[in-house]
C-alpha cells in the first residue's frame, strides 16, 4: 500500500485504496496530544458513516474525544485489534487504521500531508 495519506482539520487521516474504498485513522499528532489511549469505541460493520460526523470515540487518561469521518460511505470492516489493544494507536498511528469504508459517495475538505503539517505547526 503506497497510497498517500490525506488529512482532516480534525486530525483524522484517510487513505484511499481505490476510488470508493478507504481506510481511516487518527494522526500521529492526535495520538500524541491525547496521550495513552485506554479505550477505543468503533462502529459496527455495515454502519453508515457521514462526512464530518462522529463515527468512533477514543478515550485517554485525560479525556474522551470524538473521531469524525472524512468520507460518507459504509463500514466494510473494523480493526478489531484496537478494541483490545488501544495502545497500537500510540505506537504507530498511521498503521493503526480504525475502519475501512466502502461505497464512498462524498468526502470532506482533505489536506495533503504537507498542508496538514503546516496546520499543526501553527
Amino acid at each position: 500500500m503506497s497510497k498517500e495519506f490525506l488529512f482532516t482539520k480534525t486530525h483524522e487521516w484517510v487513505q484511499f485504496l481505490d476510488d470508493t474504498t478507504a481506510r481511516i485513522g487518527i494522526s500521529d499528532y492526535a495520538q500524541s496530544e491525547l496521550g495513552d489511549l485506554v479505550f477505543i469505541n468503533l462502529p459496527e460493520e455495515g454502519d453508515e458513516v457521514i462526512v464530518g460526523e462522529s463515527f468512533a470515540d477514543v478515550e485517554s487518561v485525560k479525556a474522551v474525544s470524538n473521531v469524525y469521518s472524512p468520507v460518507t460511505g459504509t463500514v466494510k470492516s473494523i480493526n478489531k485489534n484496537l478494541l483490545d489493544q488501544p495502545e497500537l494507536v500510540n505506537m504507530d498511528a498511521m498503521d493503526a487504521w480504525f475502519v475501512e469504508v466502502e461505497g464512498i459517495s462524498d468526502k470532506g475538505d482533505l489536506l495533503s500531508e504537507e498542508e496538514y503539517k503546516k496546520l499543526i505547526a501553527e
Binding site: 495513552d36 485506554v38 479505550f39 478515550e59 487518561v61 485525560k62 479525556a63 474522551v64 488501544p86 495502545e87
Partner: protein
Amino acid sequence: MKLIFEKGNINRRLDLMPECDVPVVDVDERYKRKKEIRLPNVSETEISRHYTKLSKRTFGVNNGFYPLGSCTMKYNPKINDEIAKLPGFSDVHPLQPEHTVQGCLEVYKLAEEYLCEITGMDAMDFQPAAGAHGEFTGLKLIRAYHRDRNDTKRDKIIVPDSAHGTNPASAAMAGFTVINLPSTEEGFVDVDALRKVVGEDTAGFMLTNPNTIGLFEEHILEITSIIHEAGGLNYYDGANLNAIMGIARPGDMGFDVVHLNLHKTFSTPHGGGGPGSGPVGCKMHLTQYLPTPRIAEKDGMLTFEEKNGKSIGRVKDFYGNFLVVVRALTYMMTLGSEGLKNASENAVLNANYMLHMLKDTFDIPFGKGRCMHEFVISLEKLKKEKSVSALDFAKSLLDYEIHPPTMYFPLIVHEALMVEPTETETKETLDEVIAIYKELYDKAYTDPDSMHNSPATTPVGRPDEVAAARNPILRFF
C-alpha cells in the same frame, strides 16, 4: 500499606453486635447465604490503627489549600456536623410515621424555600444524590414537558464545548442527542452559532454561568431567549453557583431548571467523604413533573405526597441524602442572606487576587485579567519549551503539601490548570501559594527533570494511570 483484608488472623473476631432482642425469624433456604461472609478478621485496635494510618495518607481541605477548580472545595464548618449529629436528625428511620418526623420534613421545607430564593426557582426537589444525578433528573423534566405538550420531535440538547463532561453524558443518558456548540475566542457561548443550531428539534440548552473558564456569560439574557423563542428550555448547571449567591439568580437569567451541588456551594462533605446531594429546582411550568413524593402541608402537618399523575417518578429511594440537606441548611442559616452574598464576593475576590498576582508569570488565556470565582492557566508554552506538562506541575505541588488544581479541564484550554481558591482561604495562604506557583514556574526552566520525577514526599507518587484504566482491579476478592 496492607489492605485490611491482608491483616489480622482468621480466628480473630470482633463482636460489636448486641444480642438479638427481637424474635428470630427463619427465612426460606434459598435466601440463605451459602458461603461464609468475607469480613476482615481484625481486632478493634487493628481497625483503629488501620484507619488512622489511612487518614494520614489522605489530603482534605482540613489539611491544606485545595483549589480544585469547578469543585468548590470550601472549608465545611464544624457546626454543620454538630447539628447533623442531633438525635432528632440522626436517629430517625425513613419509614417512621410522618407525625414523628415533622422536624425533619421541616428541614426539607426550609431548605427548599431558601434555595428557591437563592436561585429564583419555584420548587426544589432533594431526591437526586449528586450533581450528575440532578442533571439526569432535570433533563427528564425537560423531556416530560415536551412530551406532555405532544412536542415529540424535540430530541436535541445543545451543550457548549467548554461544558462539564457530565452535561453531554447526562443528556445522552436521558435519551437526547447532543449538539456540541463551539465557544468564541474569548471563551463565551457563540451567540451566532447558537442561533444557527436551534430549531424545531431543540429540547434544551445546558450551561454553567459563570462558565467553566470562570467568566460570566455577558449575553446570558440573549442566549436564554434564543432557546425560549425556538421552543426549548434552559438548564442551569449549578457547579459554579458559588460565584453569584445573593448577587444574580439563574431564574432571573431565563433558566427553567437548575441543579445545585450542596457538596460544593453549601459546604457539605465532598469527594470520598460525601455523600453528595444534587437537588433539582424548576420554574412553575415544570413543577408537575418533579419526582414524587413531594413534601406538602396538609391539615397543619407536613406529609409526603405521592399522588402526581405527570411526575417522572422516583429517582432515588426515600428522599435523598437527608443529613447532607441538614448540613446545607445549617450553613445557610449560619451565614444568612448577607453572609451568603459575602461568601460569593470573597470567592470572586480571592480568585481575582490570585489571578492578578500570577498573570505576569503564567499564561492565563481567557478573561483579560479578570475572572469570577476561578480562572484557568495554560501551561502549553512550558510543555513545548521544557516538556513540563500540567501533570508535572500538579505533581510537583504535592511536595509543597498543597493540593493541585483541576487539570486538563476545560478541554478548550491546552495543558489547563483550573484554580478555584474559594472564599475560605486567608490572604496569607494565598500569598504563600502564589509564591510556590512562581517558584515552580522558575524550576520548570532551571530543573525540569525534578518536576518530571516529582512528587518525592508523598506515600504514592505516580501511579500507572494507563494500566489502571486499561486493566482496573476493582475488588480484593
